[in-house]
């Protein structure tokens, strides 16, 4: 029997669940695949519909969660298997070696600067717009703010040859190349799956030229470019010439509502985040023209419609009802032409813009079905975790004691993810009460 709850995934949803449970006095294990918690939201610039600074509202929660006396955060770790049943699960967790002692490291950056490969590896946290070394800290506000050694790239670990300047540079002696991957078994009474989402890779949509044209980027790249703590310090720049784009086109539903990509569902957020992106560009420079090519405007949430209206009235956003057929490039200027059929007035037109942002869909992370299999939890045809009842038990699964929350269940925004995190926390607390409480009582009666 265990009264602990395991939360898989340390994004905003998992953090909310952990805080709710921890504050109730319950013990939580949080298993996070990445070296930092925070998830997708930690990388965003602002969030709709309030235009709050994303990391400003999330960072305090991240730190509170990590330092919470009732929460044990295990980073660089993934769940491999689960046995037992509600009230008494045994969970096998694989913890990848960080090669840095988390207790010793102060996040001073000495090792990241000393690394022989510093500045030579594309930084995936910045969508490869900047570089890092093999020893690095994922991003400025990472929690825990502890360095990690990239096992694949580190010269010592991958080839066995390096002067290991990082070890010398670290005054705390935190670098530990002898660290090994570990498998630990956790005893928990309930599990919350909050593994979140991935962004659709628009490369297969060849007609939009992503990967072929420098100035076609996707929305996550845009987020990092316009983020003050991002690779450009918040200056929106074109990849081709570092110039500021004065006319930006946003193409909606890329990889969403698209049978061919395998995602026929609406991703439910791209209407709003494209509007937000447009507002941000306008806030940075109010001579920026923003054109959103949409299929249907789905502004369904509280304050969403008003947000769109503000977009038009105060930020001069142009909404065009069309799904463009193609993007072509002027090889000289690297400007782009968006070819579209204006469905309101009719006729094929092309619009010259400086930058195209593809509003890509939310999709389940690749390989997530392995986790579903390990947990015995059913998934839908797209690899979203499936609720036992979409209407009345949206956080329950086919396995008693295992709950789901956030964007691993369907595409959703921050508000919904937080709501579900809280809901799942309550369901898990109830489960501990039901299963652990009941069995203890039964054990007592036998005695």
């Amino acid at each position: 029997m265990s009264e602990s709850v395991l939360i898989i995934g340390g994004g905003v949803c998992g953090i909310q669940a952990a805080l709710d449970l921890g504050d109730k006095g319950m013990h939580v294990y949080m298993v996070e695949k990445e070296p930092s918690i925070g998830g997708r939201m930690a990388l965003l610039d602002k969030v709709f519909p309030t235009n709050d600074c994303s990391i400003c509202i999330l960072a305090p929660k991240m730190i509170t969660c990590f330092n919470h006396p009732n929460v044990d955060v295990i980073t660089c770790a993934e769940v491999e298997g689960l046995t037992g049943k509600a009230g008494a699960f045994k969970v096998k967790v694989h913890k990848n070696a960080r090669y840095v002692d988390e207790d010793k490291c102060t996040g001073c950056d000495a090792c990241t600067q000393a690394c022989a490969l510093a500045g030579r590896i594309p930084d995936e946290w910045n969508q490869n717009f900047s570089t890092r070394g093999a020893a690095y800290i994922p991003f400025m506000q990472a929690v825990p703010r502890v360095a990690i050694i990239d096992k694949e790239r580190c010269l010592l670990l991958s080839r066995g040859k390096c002067k290991s300047q990082c070890v010398e540079a670290c005054q705390r002696g935190a670098i530990d190349f002898k660290q090994k991957d570990q498998t630990v078994t956790l005893d928990v009474g309930a599990v919350i799956v909050a593994t979140g989402l991935d962004m659709y890779d628009p490369t297969p949509v060849t007609e939009y030229g992503y990967g072929r044209f420098d100035n076609v980027i996707h929305s996550m790249e845009y987020e990092r470019l316009i983020n003050a703590s991002g690779p450009t310090g918040g200056h929106l720049k074109r990849r081709s010439d570092d110039e500021r784009p004065r006319r930006i086109a946003y193409i909606q539903c890329v990889g969403a509502r698209d049978v061919r990509s395998g995602h026929p569902y609406c991703c439910s957020v791209c209407c709003m985040y494209a509007t937000k992106d447009s507002m941000l560009a306008y806030m940075h420079h109010d001579d920026t023209e923003n054109i959103i090519f949409y299929t249907d405007l789905r502004a369904f949430g509280r304050g969403f419609d008003e947000y769109i209206k503000r977009g038009v009235d105060e930020y001069g956003i142009t909404y065009v009802r069309a799904r463009p057929g193609e993007v072509t490039e002027d090889p000289e200027t690297k400007n782009l032409y968006v070819w579209y059929d204006d469905t309101e007035s009719g006729g094929v037109k092309s619009m010259e813009v400086d930058m195209v942002v593809l509003s890509t869909a939310f999709v389940p992370p690749p390989g997530i079905s392995a986790l579903g299999k390990a947990l015995g939890v059913k998934m839908d045809e797209f690899d979203f975790f499936k609720a036992s009842d979409d209407l009345l038990a949206p956080m329950d699964t086919n396995v008693p004691g295992i709950y789901i929350a956030g964007a691993c269940t369907r595409p959703m925004d921050v508000t919904d993810a937080v709501t579900q995190g809280g809901g799942a926390a309550d369901r898990a607390a109830q489960a501990i009460n039901d299963f652990v409480g009941k069995t203890s009582a039964k054990a007592g009666s036998v005695r």
Partner: protein
């Protein structure tokens, strides 16, 4: 036999006047001829002649002024060339060149005209009736109802986002054409307007829109099925060359013509029946016909067939070639004639079955798509495996059966044929084969693979200013790659591009002028089978054309008739 019927197309100034002269001079000749007067014999297109035969004429006479007498300078010379070509075509079709006569008749040569009719009638009596006379009228097509079309093609799922129209090469040039508006019109229960509209025939069925449609609406099929309704109303797409290709397709579908579709294999190793388990058939399709009827714009279609067989021979395959294969029916199907398409499909299936053919290699993407996707739909128990020659060659590269010993130092770019690419999903095989040829550098056009731009025409409809504009755009892209040759794997892409370049081109010719070759031609060169053993028979266009005209009446293909 019943009295032969002759249709005579005669020019106003000489031949008709000659016939008139015979009449006023009371010269007797058999009453078996029906005259059609035209201003000049140069007006007579092969389609007129073929149509006459299709409708049951036993003989056709083209009458014009003597050479150098033409009232329009050289119309009669054009007629002479066309009649020559048409004779070859009649041979290929199995009707026999003897049923077509050309006669120069002066206005005062009543006797000459009468004698021609007397001789021709006698000759036709000897030849017997046109075998197409007893051909049954095709049953009327089952016209699919709108609802069925919409359901079959997922048109009801359309959200009118316009991605199709914005992707369409036609819509970009012709503001009246819009796949979105077309589907929308049908969604609004106005489908009948489409049946009578030009837009129905403007679609290239190239599949670019459906490749990109987020809801997978099958627009090409939507158009294809809607054309059945139109054709049922008697509206066709004003096909190229006044529809002569459709005449021969219909003849093949309905008649039992004794064709010899093997004559072109002379000097190549082929067999008449599969003798081993893994024997494959090479299906030539309409290539011999294209060679005759399109040599004025795009010579050398038959080279594709000859090179294909030579390549197969070189990698140790002796393919079956059937003398009685027929048109695959692709164009009839896409032009709204499913009845005759099915007739052809069944005939071909029977022929293949009788010969014991289990696997077909084909160099034409349209035939490939038709055998692979359409035949299983209409032929019960269709179990013939079909591969495009590029796929066979790619797998032969893998197995080591195909190695190139000659260098072909050239830079090429590749045109993805719609049927091979977007319809059948074969993008890599031709590229793999090209890249494997020593010395060949493959460069890609801006639009390639699934985004490739169509050659501008499909199923012999929609040829016009829009088509030319598309072709110029595509050739400009090809030229811009710096390639020496535009390689395609479809005889029709080749015809359409070469046709586009054959006359005047708008703008700078330099920007578009690029030699166009079939994949098989490069492969054959790299294998040394073009210059080697078969060099003399490699059928360089002019060589073959002149050889044919010299031996007219004696050539092998004619000895049968």
């Amino acid at each position: 036999m019943a009295e032969p019927e002759i249709v005579a197309f005669v020019c106003n100034w000489c031949a008709y006047a000659g016939a008139d002269y015979a009449g006023v001079s009371r010269i007797q000749y058999p009453p078996n001829v029906r005259l059609v007067r035209v201003m000049c014999s140069g007006r007579i297109e092969p389609s007129f002649i073929l149509k006459a035969f299709e409708e049951g004429a036993d003989g056709v006479l083209v009458g014009g002024c003597h050479e150098a007498d033409c009232h329009y300078i050289s119309g009669n010379l054009k007629a002479r060339d066309r009649v020559e070509k048409t004779k070859e075509l009649l041979d290929l079709l199995g009707l026999g060149f003897e049923r077509l006569h050309l006669k120069w008749v002066n206005a005062n040569e009543g006797e000459v005209f009468a004698n021609e009719i007397i001789d021709f009638t006698a000759a036709l009596k000897k030849l017997g009736a046109n075998p197409l006379k007893k051909m049954k009228k095709a049953a009327p097509a089952r016209v699919p109802d709108t609802d069925a079309i919409m359901k079959d093609t997922d048109a009801y799922l359309c959200v009118e986002c316009g991605k199709c129209t914005a992707s369409c090469p036609v819509a970009r040039r012709d503001t009246e054409f819009s796949p979105r508006a077309t589907v929308e019109q049908s969604l609004e229960k106005l489908h009948s307007q489409l049946e009578t509209s030009r837009q129905l025939w403007d679609c290239l069925t190239c599949g670019t829109c459906e490749e990109r449609c987020p809801y997978n609406v099958k627009f090409s099929r939507f158009i294809k099925d809607s054309r059945v309704e139109a054709l049922d109303l008697g509206i066709d797409g004003c096909p190229t060359q006044s529809g002569q290709m459709y005449s021969w397709m219909r003849m093949m579908a309905s008649g039992d013509l004794p064709q010899d579709r093997k004559a072109w294999t002379e000097g190549l190793k082929t067999k008449a029946k599969p003798t081993a388990k893994n024997d494959v058939m090479f299906f030539a399709g309409c290539l011999p016909h294209f060679d005759v009827s399109h040599s004025h714009v795009s010579p050398g279609s038959l080279d594709i067939a000859r090179n294909s067989v030579a390549i197969l021979n070189a990698i140790g395959i002796t393919p079956v070639v059937l003398a009685d294969e027929r048109c695959c029916g692709h164009d009839l199907l896409f032009a709204g004639d499913p009845v005759r398409f099915e007739a052809l499909a069944k005939k071909n299936a029977e022929t293949f079955k009788a010969a014991g053919v289990k696997k077909i290699v084909i160099s034409c993407p349209e035939g490939y798509q038709t055998f692979a996707q359409e035949y299983p739909r209409v032929v019960k128990g269709w179990d013939v495996e079909v591969v495009h020659i590029s796929e066979l060659l790619a797998s032969s590269l893998d197995s080591g059966k195909l190695t190139f010993d000659k260098e072909v130092n050239t830079r090429v770019t590749y045109q993805d044929p719609c049927r091979l690419g977007r319809y059948m999903g074969v993008y890599q095989a031709p590229r793999k084969v090209l890249s494997a040829i020593p010395g060949v550098e493959l460069v890609e056009m801006e639009h390639n693979a699934a985004d490739a731009i169509c050659c501008g025409v499909s199923s012999w409809v929609s040829c016009g200013a829009t088509a030319k504009s598309i072709q110029m755009a595509r050739l400009t892209e090809a030229k811009a790659t710096g390639a020496d040759i535009l390689v395609t794997a479809c005889p029709k892409c080749q015809i359409h591009f070469k046709c586009a370049l054959s006359g005047k081109v708008p703008g700078n010719r330099e920007a578009v002028d690029i030699p166009i070759e079939d994949l098989t031609s490069l492969v054959a060169t790299a294998l040394g089978v073009v210059e080697g053993e078969h060099a003399d028979k490699s059928m360089s266009k002019s060589a073959r054309a002149s050889a044919k005209s010299k031996s007219a009446g004696k050539s092998k293909s004619r000895s049968k008739a």
